[in-house]
């Protein structure tokens, strides 16, 4: 059985895509501007935080931990499912949603923020022992 070239309905599409620029986003070299709503990762600014622990209670995966005594606020990005409930419920507006995804990690880490340090907020990275 022999098919002539025009029998294949895909031939037009193939010809056109061969002649045009590819649709590929050349990711590492060329980054597109993210949409305003894109859920990348949870960002935190400690300036106004009064450690009310609402975010920690609302977090469905317990990714956020708040300690009132030590005035620390910590997030475990490996648990976060980006539901953005904490962003909606924060009364002080400390928690925001960044459109840039958080980078891959070599070890599971918890980002801890402390009040003693003034702006820029310290971003110490503490490796936590695996369970």
């Amino acid at each position: 059985m022999s098919w002539s070239w025009s029998v294949w309905p895909i031939s037009n599409l193939v010809m056109r895509s061969a002649l045009h620029k590819p649709v590929t986003r050349l990711y590492p070299t060329e980054r597109r501007t993210p949409y305003a709503r894109t859920r990348g990762h949870i960002e935190f600014r400690i300036d106004n935080c009064n450690f009310c622990t609402i975010c920690a209670h609302k977090c469905p995966t317990l990714a956020i931990q708040v300690n009132k005594q030590d005035k620390t606020w910590a997030i475990d990005h490996s648990r976060c499912i980006l539901c953005s409930i904490c962003v909606e419920d924060c009364r002080e507006g400390c928690i925001s949603l960044s459109p840039v995804p958080s980078p891959p990690m070599r070890a599971k880490e918890v980002l801890t923020f402390r009040q003693e340090y003034e702006a820029p907020p310290p971003r110490e990275t503490v490796a936590v022992a695996l369970p």
Binding site: P28, H41, I81, S102, P104
Partner: protein
């Protein structure tokens, strides 16, 4: 791409995943992200693969499969855990049939966070895994050089 020296082949297994990260991983292979331009090919055969991409947490059944696939991969190999479920169990970590993250059963080298992990993050994760892979290959070579005189002695 000068930073990529090897063409790694990847093996993908959806352990106990919700499909979200799996389709994002598949989206990486298709025109818009096209990781094949780096020489990365998705293979179905564990014996051909260098990088093991696991999505989703582990349960009793998938644990056996994941361990089996990991054991079949030739050295050097790298494990990349993709998505919140593979990292810690995510929203399902309290479910009775879920053990938790992939690191409960395998040594994980790169953790890609997100629910679902974005294709951009997955590409970043694979690039990080490549560095580790190259380092391991070098280490192996060095070890062989140290070991080989001992072997030839008797």
């Amino acid at each position: 791409m000068s930073f990529l020296k090897k063409s790694p082949w990847v093996l993908h297994y959806a352990a106990t995943s919700c499909n979200g990260c799996d389709i994002e991983l598949l989206a990486c292979l298709t025109p818009t992200y096209d990781v094949e331009r780096f020489g990365i090919i998705n293979t179905g055969n564990p014996k051909h693969a260098d990088i093991f991409l696991v999505t989703g947490s582990v349960n009793e059944e998938s644990r056996k499969v994941v361990e089996n696939l990991y054991a079949q991969m030739p050295d050097p190999k790298v494990v990349v855990a993709i998505g919140a479920c593979a990292l810690s169990g995510g929203i399902f970590r309290d479910a009775y049939n879920v053990y938790g993250g992939i690191d409960q059963v395998l040594p994980v080298d790169v953790y890609v966070p997100g629910c679902a992990a974005r294709p951009e993050s997955i590409i970043d994760g694979i690039v990080q895994a490549l560095d580790i892979l190259e380092q391991r290959a070098k280490d192996r070579k060095r070890q062989r050089k140290i070991v080989s005189p001992v072997v030839e002695n008797p």
